[in-house]
């Protein structure tokens, strides 16, 4: 899933405007497309990734931070997620960038620290499970064929 809520909304609006409107017959149906566009514009001003959605991701980062603190002798150079102050996309992305740096740092070390590996893997697993549990059932057949799937 994408990162930026407003850009996602903008893209949906443009897809409707550029790809759907010209192929839709009748003023009622086209009006309905404009209605969806209008609502999307309102959502752009009022909605965002939910606190529940982001909060779980940030809780996972915090769990990783605490796990790393308990690893004896972990080099002070090792990148790690900072303590989080707020529930935002930016906080999640900053935390993930620190985890990326930690993984790169650990990959470059001659001697691997199994506890770091375990802590990172636990984080990756928790994050992925959450991502998957907040994903809708794929609709690729419908998207490609333009019709409901019979199965």
């Amino acid at each position: 899933m994408n990162n930026s809520f407003p850009r996602l909304i903008d893209g949906m609006i443009e897809a409707l405007r550029q790809n759907v409107l010209p192929a839709t017959e009748g003023e009622f149906a086209r009006g309905q497309v404009f209605g969806v566009i209008f609502l999307l514009k309102n959502l752009r001003l009022r909605a965002g990734w939910s606190t529940a959605f982001l909060g779980e991701q940030l809780a996972a980062l915090d769990e990783l931070r605490l796990s790393l603190e308990q690893i004896d002798g972990l080099s002070a150079d090792a990148p790690r997620p900072a303590k989080l102050a707020e529930v935002t996309e930016q906080a999640r992305d900053a935390g993930d960038a620190q985890v990326c740096a930690l993984i790169d740092w650990h990959a470059a070390q001659g001697t691997k620290i199994p506890a770091v590996e375990r802590a990172v893997d636990a984080y990756l697993h928790r994050q992925l499970r959450h991502e998957l549990s907040t994903s809708a059932k794929p609709m690729f057949a419908e998207i490609s064929l333009g019709k409901e799937r019979s199965t």
Partner: protein, 338 residues
């Protein structure tokens, strides 16, 4: 490229008139809905055509496309390289990366007969029952990997490439893709990149790698594969790379068949028969994980194209929703490897 068909038609006619040295008026323009990346049009010109061919396909790489900026050179050279070989593909006639001609890099090829099958359409149009398509699918891939490309136009893309660095170069290329397209940091990608660098195999030979060899990227007619399409990710490298990609679970449609076409054992056996190269389990493991990383990066390219390049095709953000499932597959694959 939306809305510009009249303009495109005029520019196409002017360019083909110049190429053929006689007035040409194209007709019957039709845009094909398939293809996530390049735009594909069918078009007719008057006889005698290109080399006798009057039913053409024009492919354009739009500036806001999935992997843009594009070059048409690799695809054109690949089609030229396989012309007259046992690898069926459209004959290519012209190309250019000069955007002043048609507004985007493009190439012109013959329109091959046949239809495509979409990987996730489980409903109908199944051509798989008798296995003949699957056997050709395997044989053609073997033929491709056995080709000597050193005297073709593809050779210029192989500078400095060795059997030893082929895997690392493939990883480099897709790490660049990840860094270009990711709309947010993905720690799992870093873990996988580190694993790939630590486990790079030596290639048994350097082959033409199609780069997207799977169900959906060929035409079939009357139980025969008539053309291998979609060469935009073509590269030179380890033949296991194509095998790993074509065996991805994403293309099995819930069956036990690779690309819904052929069992893994038979694919390997026929490939070996054509190339003389036994499939290496370690290499397959590496290129399976590599292919998942590549697929995750392709999905990220979808998010990027939709959010940052103004490519407002709803298939892009739909692809982006599949990043997490692929990262989950990578997690499982690395678990199994450790």
């Amino acid at each position: 490229m939306s809305g510009g068909l009249p303009d495109l038609t005029a520019r196409f006619d002017a360019h083909v008139t110049k190429l053929l040295g006689r007035p040409v008026t194209s007709r019957g323009w039709k845009q094909y809905p398939s293809g996530f990346s390049w735009s594909t049009y069918g078009v007719s010109i008057e006889a005698p055509g290109f080399d006798g061919v009057t039913e053409l396909v024009l492919r354009l790489g739009p500036p806001n496309g999935l992997f843009a900026p594009y070059s048409a050179a690799p695809q054109f050279e690949a089609l030229k390289a396989v012309e007259g070989t046992a690898v069926p593909a459209p004959r290519a006639f012209a190309w250019s990366d000069d955007e002043s001609i048609l507004g985007a890099p493009f190439f012109v090829a013959e329109k091959s007969p046949g239809v495509t099958v979409i990987p996730w359409d489980a409903d109908d149009r199944s051509p798989r029952s008798d296995g003949a398509i699957g056997q050709q699918f395997a044989d053609i891939l073997g033929e491709l990997h056995a080709l000597d490309w050193t005297r073709t136009g593809l050779a210029r893309f192989g500078e400095g490439l060795t059997r030893q660095n082929a895997a690392a170069r493939a990883v480099d290329e897709w790490e660049r893709g990840y860094r270009r397209w990711a709309t947010r940091p993905h720690p799992m990608m870093h873990k996988v990149l580190a694993w790939l660098r630590a486990h790079a195999p030596v290639a048994p030979r350097l082959s033409i790698v199609h780069g997207d060899y799977r169900l959906g990227n060929f035409l079939e007619q009357d139980g025969r594969i008539t053309a291998i399409l979609d060469w935009e990710l073509v590269r030179l490298g380890d033949p296991h790379e194509d095998l790993g990609w074509s065996c991805l679970p994403q293309y099995r449609g819930g069956t036990e068949l690779m690309s819904q076409l052929i069992s893994r054992d038979e694919l390997y056996a026929r490939h070996e028969a054509k190339t003389g190269l036994p499939v290496q389990p370690e290499s397959m493991h590496f290129y399976t994980i590599f292919s998942l990383l590549k697929l995750a990066a392709v999905h990220m390219a979808g998010a990027h194209a939709f959010e940052h390049k103004g490519f407002f095709d709803m298939r892009m953000p739909a692809m982006a929703t599949q990043i997490a499932p692929v990262l989950r597959q990578l997690e499982k694959a690395l678990e199994a490897a450790s």
